[in-house]
Symmetry: D2
Subunit: 131 residues, 4 copies
């Protein structure tokens, strides 16, 4: 299990007519969270892809507690767990940096596949990242 | 319980560098699905908002089975259920119109609130829509 | 010069905290406009790409006259012009179907390139589409 | 005339099936550029809106020279000019931080309006920001 916290500033593009962030955009921030986590552990996702390993999402969930608003400075705390050599899970907690309020929490499940979409075991070096 | 099927054509904007649709965009199609369901039952979501009723998402989930690709013609089958006067659930199934393949399924849970975000009972006329 | 009109319904995802559609999303509708234009002329952009011809945007512009709002039913009128065997221009006009109000107009310029990004002449069959 | 440079890391969500960033997303980065410029000068756009001043885009343009890719670290150099008490222009240059390559340049024109969309002069304090 590994963890890391990324920061995102809410863009106007991410808000909607309700005056708050549109719900699908939290999943984009989850992407930022897990990529920064891997980068912090020395394995940028871009490098993984160059090596022929892709991690498409096969399950995604988000629970919304309080709305994020334009210009909010957010903290995306991410925890990664290797479930098997071909399954990785990330859990996320989105908090507002200013007051520490928890806005949302979520989870994504990923399959390790090769360029043609077939399951492939994560390289040992990547598996060790999660220890 | 009510149901309806909407159609969406995959936009290039919705794809990503893996050559398939980016996972967060399924939640945008879920929005299309539930709005078209309400419209088909005579209650456009826009009219609900004009009447001071909002239905923000408080929980969202999607399971991905097979990737959607650019230009795919998709069917978003949506089922709506009134869980209580202040809770509505929608369930979705995304299939490719061409071959009927199921690409994803999901669920969103919504709270009925007023303009200031406080819980408010759905108007009777809307509750009856779900019968 | 060829022309066609596509229809789009404004999604909640496309609006922003100002209560209207976020300006970048008009460029997504322009994509819908030009793709439907090509499809109507018998040449889906997907097929072009399968044949190894890509049409990346090299210049894009939009002038905004009046805001589009959630659930608006819009008409994207698109005109395509072959400027040279390696340059295509599309011009767009976005009107609200209900009252015919012009909301925005724009233009995109495209280079014809092969899969590795090198300029390549459009196939004759595609060039003829623009006549 | 004022200037500032913001940084953005390309998200997977921003790429498309061509393997590069989808063209509309540059306009989202332009938003980041101009907001960070105003913040650096002591006037967050959020505060402007709280004071009842909105700056909707009335014209937007982008020229694309070379593609941005997933995970690229980009520099959005932004220059702001007060054209009149009710018109502001921003110009942008997007470069890749690694090699300094210019990827795109653009321009947005903004009208100063009040909450109901009527033209209103920018407050003196904001006008002075552009000097």
């Amino acid at each position: 299990m590994i963890q890391h916290a990324a920061r995102v500033r809410v863009r106007y593009a991410e808000t909607d007519a309700m005056g708050v962030v549109y719900y699908a955009n939290y999943f984009v921030w989850f992407e930022v969270g897990r990529c920064e986590l891997l980068r912090a552990r020395g394995h940028a996702y871009r490098a993984l892809e160059s090596d022929g390993v892709m991690l498409p999402v096969i399950d995604a969930r988000c629970e919304y507690r309080a709305p994020a608003r334009y210009d909010d400075d957010l903290r995306i705390a991410t925890v990664g767990t290797l479930l098997s050599p071909v399954r990785v899970e990330f859990r996320y907690s989105v908090t507002r940096a200013g007051d520490g309020a928890t806005l949302a929490s979520g989870r994504t499940l990923h399959a390790a596949v090769d360029r043609s979409g077939r399951p492939r075991r994560l390289p040992e070096a990547i598996q060790e990242v999660f220890e």
